[in-house]
Amino acid sequence: MAFSRASQKAGTIPARSTNMIQLEHLSKEYNGVRAVNDLTVEIPDGEIFGLLGPNGSGKSTAILMLVGLIEPTSGRCLINGLDVARDPITVKQQIGYMPEDVGFYPTLSAKENLTYFGKLYGMDTRTCIKRCNELLPLVGLDGVIKDIGGYSKGMRQRLGLAKALLNDPSVIILDEPTANLDPQGVADYRTIIRNVAREGKTVVVSSHILEEVSKVSTSIGILSAGTLVAQGSWKDLARDHSIHASSHVTIHVETQDPMPEFHHPDLIHIDYERDRHGAVLVTRSDLRDDIADYLAQNGVRLRGLFREERSLEETFLSYYQVAG
């Protein structure tokens, strides 16, 4: 593997594809261990795609291959129809990347860092300064004059976001973007991501924090042990999994009068409270309507009847467990 000019294929930028990002049978092996295994993902143009997975599931490795920092053992990454390994310069012109552990030059100020990186994008000094003046207030770093060496992790992450937007990219790739941000920083980040998505840019957010991905992304992919175990919209994944992964339904009943003995072929187990004003039923199907009818027939006044839902975390944890 070598990241040399020789691998660059001369040519023009092909027509914009429907899928802005394509990962085709992507695999990466470190010392015989597969960090990413046959990953195939298609992300349409203008999508905010959340890449979810527990620590060590291969998210960052996949992202590093996507931005051309490591070369895949097999498979390929395409951005806007361009192979990242073959056209690294053209691809990098189109992407903005913020790594998980974002690092800058500690002896330079935020503006100096951004100006330096801007020049690598081919921007002149005047354009760089203009972009700095737009982006630094956006990420809440306007007026901070100290060198990066004096920045907190959160401030570096804010600057990382500004850096990812510096070249006005069509694809923004963010690896654990809120890991070090305070609540205000997280709110700012969400606003920025939603705004750039409105402009039609494609965003990839990799995170192990479910809530964070759920707040901004329009679709997700779940990685576990280097393998993609699910992909789709939030609702689809939650519904599919609740259908396929759970065979039991838990129903809570509260009544004003003591309830009678309940019988049903789908009933697996029932726990009554001592005064019989409450019960928890474990059933094979959703029996809420049957329970309400039965109680009404017996003149028992209903106070509450609800089905126990799985939390988002539980739902997605079960995806990981299924994969494991």
Partner: protein, 367 residues
């Protein structure tokens, strides 16, 4: 565009170096030792010049023929070379050992390489920025050295200026050699601390251990002792000494009757010297310090043993006798010819290590 990127990286690296406290500190030390070395060298030069003038005026003296050579202005640079061997090496190491590893540690390498820039532009830019800073530092040192010469009323002629340029060039190559070694270590290691330790180990091996192996004692262990003077010749020398007792001067060792024995001894000595020279030259190929010592010794025309902690110098390496400015029959090419191998070796060192650093950097997995 590619040139712009290379220039942008080189420019940043250059300013990083010149603003760096460690660079300024070592450069300051280099300046001080260069000035001190120059003043010491000038004092010695003036003393030798007085002595030369004195001997020139005493034509009748039997020693006048041995002291007829006018001291060279280049001899002034001799002690500067001694200091440069160490301080220059350390400056090169200090500038190179964390060039890449620091970026790995601060995670800025990941950000940098995510930009539309080729890896060769990054490593070349870093090297160029370093070279420019080193060249700038050396130019200032040289400028001050020349100014010191002029302040003392010593004005070098054309040939001497060329030799001073050669001296400056090889000094730069020495510093660049250690810079390239440090740069390689910086790409090979993940931490700057490890890169520094390994570079220092290599520096010690190349500047102390290898020259020590090339010293007379160690060389004799490898190729054996020099041939002994035949007994008959020793007896003859003793006889000559007794005969001339009282005069205080012994200038004749050979008599017509023993020419064959002398010739045989001379041949043996010649063969031994050649063998020793071969061992030394082979070792010198692996040490920029030895090559630098050989070249600067030839250039500065210093044959006396230099008090140095770096290692003893083989006297035979600098056998290219020349005189600058005194006799017009010795050409500059003749002076430089014997040290061409050392110059090539000195040029090869940074090339090899920079090549290794380049290869390592191109294949680096940035995680």
């Amino acid at each position: 565009m590619a040139g712009n990127r290379l220039f942008t990286i080189a420019q940043k690296e250059f300013f990083d170096h010149v603003k760096c406290r460690k660079f300024l500190l070592i450069f300051g030390i280099l300046l001080v030792v260069a000035i001190v070395g120059m003043i010491g060298g000038i004092t010695e030069y003036n003393k030798n010049l007085d002595s030369y003038n004195q001997h020139q005026s005493t034509i009748a003296s039997p020693l006048s023929s041995y002291m007829a050579e006018k001291p060279s202005i280049l001899s002034v640079f001799s002690s500067v070379a001694t200091y440069l061997m160490f301080v220059g090496g350390i400056l090169g190491i200090a500038m190179g050992f964390d060039l890449v590893s620091k970026e790995k540690e601060s995670k800025s390498l990941k950000i940098l390489l995510s930009h539309p820039v080729y890896r060769d532009e990054v490593i070349n830019g870093k090297a160029l920025g370093g070279i420019a800073a080193l060249a700038g530092a050396l130019f200032i040192v040289l400028f001050i050295a020349l100014a010191t010469l002029l302040i003392y009323g010593i004005v070098p002629d054309g040939n001497e200026l060329i030799l001073i340029t050669v001296f400056a060039t090889v000094s730069f190559l020495l510093i660049f050699s250690y810079f390239a070694i440090a740069l390689f270590m910086s790409t090979a290691m993940d931490e700057s601390g490890s890169a520094l330790i390994y570079t220092i180990i290599i520096f010690i091996v190349l500047s102390v251990l290898v020259p020590t192996l090339g010293s007379t004692t160690v060389t004799e262990l490898v190729i054996g002792n020099p041939p002994e003077l035949p007994r008959e010749l020793i007896d003859q020398m003793q006889h000559s000494a007794n005969a001339s007792e009282g005069s205080g001067i012994t200038v004749t060792f050979a008599s017509k009757g023993n020419n064959g024995a002398w010739d045989e001894f001379g041949e043996k000595m010649q063969a031994y010297s050649e063998k020793r020279q071969m061992v030394y030259s082979t070792l010198a190929l692996f040490s920029p310090t030895m090559n630098y010592d050989a070249i600067t010794s030839a250039v500065t025309q210093q044959y006396s043993s230099r008090a140095t902690v770096i290692g003893s110098r083989a006297s035979t390496t600098t056998s290219a006798a020349f005189s600058v400015g005194t006799s017009g029959d010795v050409r500059l090419e003749d002076l430089l010819y014997p040290i061409i191998a050392s110059m090539i070796a000195l040029l090869l060192f940074p090339t090899v290590f920079f090549g290794l650093a380049y290869m390592r950097f191109m294949r680096l997995d940035v995680r």
